[in-house]
């Protein structure tokens, strides 16, 4: 390859400068520096040498990644893919940023991904729900077709969540229930995802904390929303009916008396009739001026009775619902931070 072509490949293939911080191994740091200085041959040599030395897991993954970058830059595609496969097997969640990394390197990385069986990016969201009425979302990616078994493990307890043949993005819903339908007991669970394809297998896990709580009960009602009781007594408007009635009845009795009096007995003075009639009319007049007594409002009484019955019925329903709610368990599932290898 001519020098110009080399330069062009490097410019196009060059990832963002590989940060050397957090790297303890000196040889690996030198390999990263060599790669940053476009000394590809030296980077490959130093990365290989670093891999023969004592490295931590992330450092090993980093060393293979440098090798993958360097081989990609030097057009050694197969070697690059092999190096990336090793990096992925050590750190399955490893990602390349397509915005910063050249397409050539990215395609090598994706090719490596398709050739290994790993479970990547296992993510479990926090969730709170009433047992049996909700679920915990679980997401992960299987890089190649495999039988995938997912279960929740806590000590000797192993609760199957799902088993299926899958590849690519997988979304599961865990209801946090035992096979008999009861909520899983309080505690820490490992969500284990095992992928098996022939002789190859891979497993990923994420710890979650399951806590139990009481389900909120409904408060009893003291009034139906939107409905208020009506006054059970109403004061009728003042009127002249009492006086009218007094006149009417006095008139009836007076007329009857006049009609029934015997003419042969002479004209009676009628002072008895007059005294009682005046008393009746006076009473009628006073009652007409007086504020009428409140009368029971039959319609309102019936309405209030219906309202009361509805309230009692609603509270009975609430009491029944609360009995059911008290038997239920509020589950809170929280993913725990991943341990660094």
């Amino acid at each position: 390859m001519r020098p110009f072509t080399w330069l062009l490949v490097l410019v196009l293939a060059w990832p963002a400068a590989l940060p050397a911080q957090n790297v303890q191994n000196a040889t690996l740091r030198r390999a990263l520096a060599a790669y940053d200085n476009l000394d590809i041959g030296q980077a490959i040599t130093l990365a290989k040498r670093a891999l023969t030395e004592r490295l931590s897991g992330p450092e090993q993954a980093r060393a293979y990644e440098v090798l993958g970058f360097a081989y990609s830059a030097s057009d050694s595609l197969l070697k690059a893919v092999d190096a990336f496969k090793q990096a992925i097997l050590i750190d399955p969640d490893r990602q390349l940023d397509p915005a910063k990394i050249s397409p050539k390197i990215t395609s090598s990385f994706l090719l490596a991904l398709s050739q290994v069986l790993v479970v990547r990016q296992l993510q479990i969201d926090s969730a709170s729900f009433v047992g049996g009425r909700g679920f915990v979302p679980i997401r992960f990616t299987v890089t190649s077709p495999a039988r995938v078994r997912t279960r929740a493990v806590s000590g000797p307890t192993s609760v199957p969540i799902d088993s299926s043949v899958a590849t690519g993005q997988v979304n599961l819903r865990w209801q946090a229930q035992l096979p008999n339908g009861d909520p899983v007991p309080d505690g820490t669970y490992l969500i284990v995802v095992e992928a098996t394809a022939g002789q190859n297998s891979f497993s990923a896990e994420q710890a979650v904390r399951v806590t139990h709580g009481a389900v909120d009960t409904l408060p009893h009602l003291t009034a139906l929303p939107g409905y208020s009781p009506l006054p059970e007594e109403e004061t009728p408007p003042r009127n002249w009916t009492p006086l009218g009635r007094a006149f009417l009845y006095t008139g009836i009795v007076g007329a009857g008396t006049f009609a029934l009096e015997s003419s042969s007995l002479g004209t009676a003075p009628r002072r008895e009739l007059a005294v009682v009639s005046v008393g009746a009319i006076l009473t009628g007049f006073i009652m007409s001026l007086k504020k009428p007594a409140p009368q029971p409002a039959r319609g309102n009484i019936l309405y209030n009775r219906l309202l009361g019955e509805q309230l009692v019925r609603r509270n009975a329903d609430i009491a029944q619902q609360n009995q059911t709610l008290r038997r239920q368990v509020a589950l809170k599932v929280t993913p725990l931070p991943k341990r660094t290898p």
Binding site: G256, L260, L265, G266, R271, L273, V275, V276, T283, M287
Partner: protein, 211 residues
């Protein structure tokens, strides 16, 4: 006071005392009246006292009233006074719309005997009691007087009684001022075949106490 009156009063008060859901009231009244007999020359006017007891229980009600008047001659041929004792018994059955069917009897005796006609009759009629305000009520009564008997003999084919009552006081009925008017007209047929009209207007004013 004769025996039937005492027995009636005792029965009413005893029944009132023994029933739980009843209302009982006792009344004391002053009374005055006008009594006419035969023709316009036999006219008496009198005053006196009256007392009564009322009991009501669910749809049933009963009144017993005793009125004692001293009638004095008021012009004409009447020349001697007499005492009149009238006992009125009303038994009621509430029908509807404040109206009750009513029966009972009325008995008026005179002392000295035969100074005026003593009479007795069964009453059949109706009474309406209307509330015209808190603690105030008006009563309207109409009775046919049947089976009249007289101390001088004879009977009455026609006898009628009209009544107007007013009471006002506390709405719980514990204390009330009462007024009653009763007009009685009877056509007595003598054994000789003559028609003798008898007419009495009676007013009672007083108080009643409820229990």
């Amino acid at each position: 006071m004769n025996r039937p009156v005492v027995v009636s009063l005792a029965l009413v008060v005893n029944a009132a005392a023994s029933l739980a859901a009843q209302r009982v009231s006792l009344s004391v009244q002053s009374a005055f009246g006008d009594y006419r007999e035969v023709d316009s020359n036999l006219v008496y006017r009198g005053t006196g006292i009256a007392g009564g007891a009322t009991v009501s229980w669910h749809k049933l009600g009963a009144d017993v009233e005793v009125t004692r008047l001293t009638y004095d001659p008021h012009g004409g041929r009447a020349d001697s006074s007499f005492k009149s004792t009238q006992v009125d018994v009303h038994l009621r059955w509430y029908v509807a719309n404040q109206v009750s069917l009513e029966t009972g009897y009325t008995k008026r005796t005179t002392d000295p005997e035969f100074s005026a006609q003593s009479m007795g009759a069964i009453r059949i009629g109706a009474r309406g009691l209307y509330n015209i305000g808190p603690g105030a009520s008006l009563a309207l009564r109409g009775n046919y007087l049947a089976g009249s008997k007289f101390s001088g003999g004879g009977s009455a084919g026609f006898g009628i009684e009209l009544g107007l009552g007013i009471s006002a006081g506390r709405s719980d009925g514990r204390f009330r001022v009462t007024g009653d008017y009763a007009f009685q007209r009877v056509n007595r047929k003598t054994t000789g075949g003559g028609d003798v009209p008898i007419q009495q207007s009676l007013a009672r004013l007083g108080v009643s106490v409820g229990m």
